[in-house]
Every structure is written in structure tokens, then in C-alpha cells.
């Protein structure tokens, strides 16, 4: 049991790295076999198809992302918690040297046009993330730390857009400063 879970986890993590680097379509089964060291028959024992493996990789990354978010909503005030969660994402991207960018954003662009199962997971990630941010924004307004906003949901959505767009720009420029500038500016504007 433990060994099976280990193997499964190794397949998920190594395949995620490949997908982040090369995209889903350009990652072949033989790439996966080389990277994981798992034999072909064994790989198909765990995941019946590349599509199924791709879905499992996305779900595993989703879990990890929301664990990271939960752990990073730290601080005394709701707005502080929100900015700390954004800082945690910046830090994670920086740790990866902005190589690869955001798996969900990438998959959104690569796969969502043609694969409804993938699109649904990405939509769910954006929906849950937006809801968490909106919650903190509402609390900040109640606490008087944020000026009344027309719609906390729309502002939350905009924050997600800033992060996804900022990651894209940092990925192209290979400079941390793009995403960082975007977040600092957002913070300064909302503090007004």
C-alpha cells in the first residue's frame, strides 16, 4: 500500500514538472517513463491513459495549491492575510525562477478549448480561489480596513487576473519584478 502510494505520488510530481515545462501535448508517455523510472505496464496500472494521468496531476496540484493558500492566509487582519497569500504565490513562483509559470493558467490556455474535463478543474480552481479572496475582502470592508467596493467577488476576480497576468509577464521577462510590481501597485491602490 505504502509503496503504491509512493509510486503514484512520484508519477504525479514528475509528470507535473514535465507538463509545466513542456505543456501537456508535448509531454509523451516515453518522457514520463524516463522521468519517473516507472515501467510502461506499471504506469498504465496506475493511470489507464495519458488523459487520466493529466487529470490526476491537475487535481493533485489543485490540492497542493489550496493547502499553500490556507497555510498562507496568516496575519491579524483580513487584508494582511490576503496580501500574505499573494506573497506566498510570488515566493513559490520565484523559487521556480518563473520557469513554467502557473500550471492552471498554462493548462487553461493549452487545453481548455478542447478538453471539457480539464477546463472544469481550472474553472473550479479559479472559482474557489476567487471565493476565498472575496471572503477576506468582505471581512476587510466590515472591519473598516478597505473602502466599500461595489462587488468583492469582482475585485477578487481582478486580483486573480493580476496574479495570472503578472506570472505570465514575469515568465516572459524572466524577472521577478513584473509580478511584484503588479502586486505592489494593486496593494497601494486598494490602500487609498
Amino acid at each position: 500500500m505504502a509503496k503504491g502510494a509512493d509510486t503514484r505520488n512520484r508519477i504525479l510530481k514528475k509528470t507535473r514538472k514535465l507538463i509545466v515545462k513542456k505543456g501537456f501535448n508535448n509531454t509523451s508517455i516515453s518522457d514520463i517513463i524516463t522521468a519517473t523510472g516507472v515501467k510502461k505496464g506499471n504506469l498504465y496500472y496506475y493511470y489507464a491513459s495519458k488523459n487520466e494521468l493529466g487529470l490526476a496531476v491537475l487535481k493533485d496540484a489543485e490540492q497542493e495549491f489550496f493547502d499553500l493558500l490556507s497555510a498562507s492566509f496568516k496575519g491579524e487582519k483580513p487584508l494582511e492575510k490576503l496580501w500574505n497569500s499573494c506573497a506566498a504565490i510570488l515566493k513559490a513562483q520565484q523559487k521556480a525562477n518563473f520557469v513554467g509559470g502557473c500550471l492552471f493558467g498554462n493548462t487553461a490556455l493549452e487545453m481548455s478549448g478542447g478538453n471539457e474535463e480539464y477546463a472544469e478543474i481550472i474553472r473550479e480552481v479559479f472559482r474557489k480561489w476567487t471565493a476565498l479572496l472575496a471572503d477576506h475582502l468582505r471581512q476587510a470592508v466590515s472591519a473598516g480596513d478597505l473602502a466599500q467596493v461595489h462587488s468583492p467577488e469582482s475585485l477578487a476576480k481582478m486580483i486573480v487576473a493580476v496574479i495570472e497576468g503578472g506570472i505570465m509577464m514575469s515568465r516572459v521577462s524572466k524577472r521577478k519584478t513584473d509580478l511584484e510590481d503588479c502586486l505592489q501597485t494593486l496593494r497601494a491602490i486598494l490602500a487609498r
Copy 2:
């Protein structure tokens, strides 16, 4: 001469459609031949390789994008011009039913890690676009229509991020409202 320019233009536009839909890597030479109706030898007469054709497609799209931007910076006041340019992008995306998204954003994610020539064009698009927006923001501050911002360049970058991230979200949700909400919220916050 005229016929050559026509053929060249048809190749660029049809190939762009394929790349927007399928990505660069998944677009094959035979897809391009089928879509353009140009024979293989003729295609290679115009573009020596798929890489060269891809670069020409990006440069052609860049030209078209900045033509669209220039034409859309209309209005009496700088901030009005800026929002009109954002509205023109929303309209163009809507016209395409949010299928495909932004060619530059897609290519940023698909190609910029591995192909420095592509990355440089995308960086240039983001740089020029940011500079145009920053210019309008500076004018708006001077005219007293926008509260002083720490850095017009960073705010301009953030606006580009909102648009790129918003297009990504609308592409996944297939709903205009994601990009629209992001832009409306941004506008409301900056009006404060």
C-alpha cells in the same frame, strides 16, 4: 508582386488562426497547407521554415494589435482614451467568442521558455503596450483626472496583467463577464 503579397498575407492570417486554436507546436505544416491551399513548395518559397513562419505570424499580429490600439485611443481625456483601448480589446475578444484568447499571452506560455526569438517579440509587445498605457496615465495625472500614482509604469503593467489574466479567465469560463468584471472593477477603483 500584388499576388505574392496576397499569398503571403493569406498564409499569415490562416496560420495565425491555427496557432491561436491549436498552439504553435500542435500546428503542423500539413495543417497549414490544408488551411491556406498553398502547395508545400510554394509555402517554403515564402517562409523557409515553420519557425520563420511563426515569427512572421507574431510580427504581423503585433502590427495589427498596435494598429487596433492606436485607432482605439479615442476620446477627449487621456483616461477615457485608455478605457476605450481596453474596451476595444474586450470587443475583439468577444467577437472571437473568447476562443483562442490572446495570441501573445498563449505564445508567452507555450514558447517563451524555449525560443528566445519568440520571447523577445512577446516582451516587446508587452513593453510597447505598457509604455502607451503609462503615457496616458501620466497625462491623466497631470490633468487631475487620476490621483497621483507611485509609478505610472507599474500601474500600466498591472492593467496589462488584468487584461491578460481576464482573457485567460474568460477563455476558460467562456463568459465575457470575467474580463468585463475585471475591467469595470479596475476602472471603479482608479476613479476613487
